[in-house]
């Protein structure tokens, strides 16, 4: 079976700077892969190359065995790749329910059925289940902008999951979230992974969060992979310690 | 051929005036993301400051221009920024678009009501003599206009690249956040941009009014042409605005002579649409990146 995501020799150069330098890895179905590294190690650039936001200077990205070069973000999403952004990205003037329905509607029916069919694209029940799963039921009809920061983070993640993607890329999900909410978020992500077999790639600064959430970790420094393995092994890898402390 | 040279030179002359308006337009966009839909009226109005100074205050032409300069800096520079742009910018581009459209109407109607609805003769800066160059009859005025506006542009370029303040202004235009960190007084730089725009508008006004007469609705065409010049040249480049202005001036003049007079004003519009289709960043512009 194909890996869900396979990154083959991807590079990204900005002038003389090699932000990402010949990176190769695979993501297996059902795993939670952590992508860590010091600031400026190329994590976000790599993410943007995978997601087609930046054209890679070299290499190939395959989702489920299919080359995704040149696909726009919306095409990639329709192929089954969900994502969240580093900065919070919800639609503040729409209700929580509307946010979630929007996240699923483009995967339902055709252009025409979306104009002439049901206003909710038949997604209300499913959306409500998703809202319940992320414990936002009381906020269902609140405007997303009026939620607390942590709740908006949950909503953001819920939106990425709504269409039932094969693969979700989470860009710093823990950033700015308080400890209680963080534990809650981690628990929900794990539950989603176990119950629905969803596959995640997580970029994160918060080591504690990554170590306890991920099943496998890749460490990036200066655009290259310097270590890869289970959390415990990576934590004790001298090269990794060097990269974090020596940098 | 001689006719062609005549048309070319007079086209370059008016084109250089368009360039002045287009540069101001570009500068405002760079410094503060202001799209000034009243730019044409900004060029129309200073001529009336001059005329008002001469006829109501009895000033000579020179002092009247000085007075107009002060009035332009105060009204089209400072007041425009403080009263209209500053409060509106945080709300996005759209309210600015609407407010400047309304401002254009206000300026136009004020001139019509308080000065005159008729086209006003405007004193020429130069004699109407002609000289013969390579067999082509060329008016002294055209050459003078061309020289003056090109030196103004040169001066501006020197100021922007050769002085500290100018470089701070450029830094502000390119990345206000970084400029701020580097200790540039961003607010003041933006104010300077508005003042420069006002001064350029005055210059353009004084140069163009002897040719086309001063009339309250001159801004309609001028504004549109300044837009087109800025976009055709490259929206984010001063060089682009100059090239765009000159190009439009020449094309417009040639079109009037060789294409139908009826569709003369369509030529710049078609040029605009073609440029947007095939080279959206403009002839000399750098791509700002796609939105999608």
């Amino acid at each position: 079976m194909n890996p869900v995501l396979s990154v083959k020799g991807v590079s990204k150069h900005f002038g003389g700077l090699k932000a990402v330098d010949d990176v190769t890895f695979e993501v297996r179905r059902g795993e939670i892969l952590g992508l860590i590294g010091p600031n400026g190690s190329g994590k976000s650039t790599l993410f943007n190359c995978i997601l087609g936001q930046l054209p890679a200077s070299g290499g190939k990205v395959e989702v489920d065995g299919r080359d995704v070069a040149g696909l726009r973000p919306c095409d990639l999403n329709l192929l089954g790749v969900g994502r969240t952004f580093q900065m919070l990205q919800v639609f503040p003037e729409m209700t929580v329910l509307e946010n979630i329905i929007l996240a699923g509607q483009e995967h339902k029916g055709t252009m025409f059925s979306r104009l002439f069919g049901k206003p909710d694209a038949g997604l209300t029940d499913e959306a409500k289940r998703m809202i319940e799963f992320f414990r936002l039921t009381h906020q269902t009809n609140e405007k997303a902008g009026s939620l607390s920061y942590g709740q908006q983070k949950l909503l953001d993640a819920a939106m990425a999951f709504m269409a039932g993607p094969k693969l979700v890329l989470l860009d710093e999900p823990a950033g700015g979230v308080n400890l209680t909410m963080l534990a809650h978020l981690k628990e929900r992500l794990k539950a989603f992974n176990e119950e629905r077999g969803a596959t995640f790639v997580v970029i994160e600064h918060n080591m504690e969060f990554v170590m306890s959430l991920c099943t496998r970790i890749i460490v990036l420094a200066n655009g290259r992979i310097i270590a890869e393995g289970e959390p415990e092994a990576v934590r004790n890898d001298p090269q990794v310690i060097e990269a974090y402390l020596g940098g | 051929m001689t006719e062609f040279i005549q048309l070319l030179i007079s086209g370059l002359a008016t084109g250089s005036i368009y360039a002045l308006a287009a540069i101001g337009f570009t500068l405002l966009w760079q410094a503060s993301q202001t799209i000034n839909f009243a730019q044409g009226e900004f060029v129309m109005l200073p001529a009336f400051f001059v005329l008002a100074g001469m006829h109501f205050l009895g000033l000579g032409f020179g002092p009247a221009i000085l007075l107009a300069l002060v009035a332009s800096l105060l009204i089209l520079g400072l007041t425009f920024k403080r009263v209209i742009i500053d409060p509106l910018l945080p709300h996005g581009v759209l309210p600015v678009v609407i407010a400047t459209i309304a401002l254009g109407i206000l300026m136009k109607e004020s001139v019509k009501q308080f000065y005159s609805a008729e086209a006003q003769p405007f004193p020429a800066l130069f004699s109407e003599r002609t000289i013969t160059v390579l067999g082509a009859v060329v008016s002294v005025q055209d050459i003078a206009v061309l020289l003056i506006s090109l030196s103004a542009v040169g001066l501006l370029q020197f100021f922007l690249t050769g002085t500290k303040t100018g470089r701070c202004m450029q830094a502000t235009a390119q990345n206000p956040a970084v400029a701020e960190i580097l200790g540039v007084n961003v607010k003041r730089m933006i104010l300077y941009t508005f003042l420069i725009n006002a001064a350029l508008a005055l210059l353009a006004s004084v140069l163009i009014s002897p040719i086309y007469l001063a009339k309250f609705n001159n801004g309609e065409t001028l504004g549109l042409i300044a837009f087109i010049a800025a976009i055709v040249g490259g929206f984010n480049q001063i060089r682009g605005a100059i090239a765009g202005g000159l190009l439009i001036g020449v094309i417009d003049n040639l079109a009037a002579a060789y294409v139908s007079a009826q569709y003369r004003s369509a030529i710049p519009l078609i040029l605009l649409i073609i440029i947007i289709l095939i080279r959206p960043q403009g002839l000399l512009g750098k791509a700002e990146g796609r939105t999608v």
């Binding site: 997601l51 726009r72 919306c74 999403n77 969900g82 994502r83 952004f85 990205q89 919800v90 639609f91 503040p92 729409m94 509307e98 929007l102 996240a103 509607q105 483009e106 995967h107 339902k108 979306r114 104009l115 002439f116 069919g117 206003p119 405007k143 902008g145 009026s146 | 799209i35 009263v83 209209i84 409060p87 509106l88 709300h91 996005g92 581009v93 759209l94 309210p95 678009v97 609407i98 407010a99 459209i101 309304a102 109407i105 206000l106 109607e109 009501q113 976009i231 009826q262 004003s265 369509a266 519009l269 078609i270 605009l272 649409i273 947007i276 289709l277 959206p280 796609r290 939105t291 999608v292």
Partner: protein, 324 residues
């Protein structure tokens, strides 16, 4: 509860509009018709601007295309409903052709392309005399007859316009309630996020613009029949700006914004008539003051008042709502 109150208010308004002409002078009925026609044009622009977030400065050009198409077709003996449909489809297609390259590139480019387009349409209307009558325009445009009834009387035609007004309002409401409407709103609020959720933002923006343009075409068709005379000056850039003003003054992105905006822009000249030549100055001044004091338009003010009442009752409302 709120929804029902709104529904009843709309019903009452429709009822009032239905009986109003019988108690008004012919001229007042004419003004009302013109309000509804411009409301239709403004509704379309509101979809482009208020929902999809694109500035179009060519609504008058689309009205012009619609008006000339309907006028010339009906005068050539083609039934008026067909002519109206042709006008709408034509404007929709032109919208697609015009919008595609402009939206491919950058945000503010549609504004410039439409600006140039409006000026071009004006030139064609003025210069192609064989088709458009040039500066003399088209005279004697027939009023439609409905089920054999002529609408040459102002009141009769009022109900034709009223019918279009209601149907097109309902259609727009339907579009905005559908997933399309949700996508439109999403791409106004956060296009990048919408794109990452599978919304083809280029396609949706283009569709919003094309539908908005089709509304302009229908409004133009009705305008031609209302005035029974059209010339290039009825469709200049100034008129486009007037429609834009209606949308902004009422409140872009609010469903009822264009109705309110059109009402004000149409009625203002009637009320300010005593000011004679100073009318446009006052008008421009009012717009500037409105923009500075409330950039979200009149319905934005209503929202702000509602919020301050809510805040008084419940001081803990979030900072985000206050910041709006």
């Amino acid at each position: 509860m709120n929804a029902r109150a709104n529904f009843l208010a709309i019903l009452a308004a429709v009822a009032v509009l239905a009986v109003l002409p019988s108690s008004l002078s012919t001229y007042s009925v004419y003004v009302l018709c013109s309000w509804m026609v411009f409301s239709i044009a403004a509704m379309g622009l509101n979809l482009t601007l208020g929902f999809a977030g694109q500035v179009s400065l060519a609504q008058a050009a689309f009205m012009g295309i619609g008006a000339y198409t309907t006028a010339l077709m009906t005068m050539a003996g083609i039934p008026w409903p067909l002519a109206m449909i042709a006008a709408a489809v034509e404007c929709f297609l032109i919208g697609l052709v015009l919008g595609y390259p402009a939206l491919r590139v950058q945000h503010h480019f549609l504004a410039f392309v439409t600006l140039a387009f409006n000026a071009l349409v004006f030139l064609v209307l003025r210069n192609e005399e064989w088709l458009t009558g040039g500066t003399y325009g088209v005279v004697g445009i027939p009023r439609p007859s409905v089920l054999g009834f002529s609408t040459n009387q102002q009141t009769g035609f009022y109900y034709v316009v009223f019918g279009f007004f209601l149907v097109l309002s309902a259609v727009l409401y339907g579009i905005l309630r559908s997933p399309w409407g949700r996508a439109f709103q999403a791409l106004r609020e956060n296009p990048i996020r919408a794109n990452s959720l599978g919304v083809d933002i280029r396609r949706m923006t283009l569709l919003a613009f094309a539908i908005g343009s089709a509304y302009g075409g229908i409004a133009g068709g009705l305008l031609g029949q209302l005035v029974q005379f059209i010339d290039p000056n009825s469709f200049t850039l100034t008129i486009s700006l007037k429609v834009l003003l209606m949308v902004i003054v009422g409140g872009a992105g609010y469903f009822f914004g264009p109705y309110l905006g059109a009402l004000l822009v149409i009625l203002m000249p009637e009320f300010l008539r005593f000011t004679e030549g100073y009318y446009l100055m006052l008008y421009a001044l009012l717009v500037i003051v409105l923009m500075i004091s409330c950039p979200k338009g009149l319905l934005g003010i209503v929202d702000r008042i509602k919020l301050s009442i809510k805040l008084r009752q419940n001081p803990s409302a979030t900072a985000w709502e206050q910041g709006k």
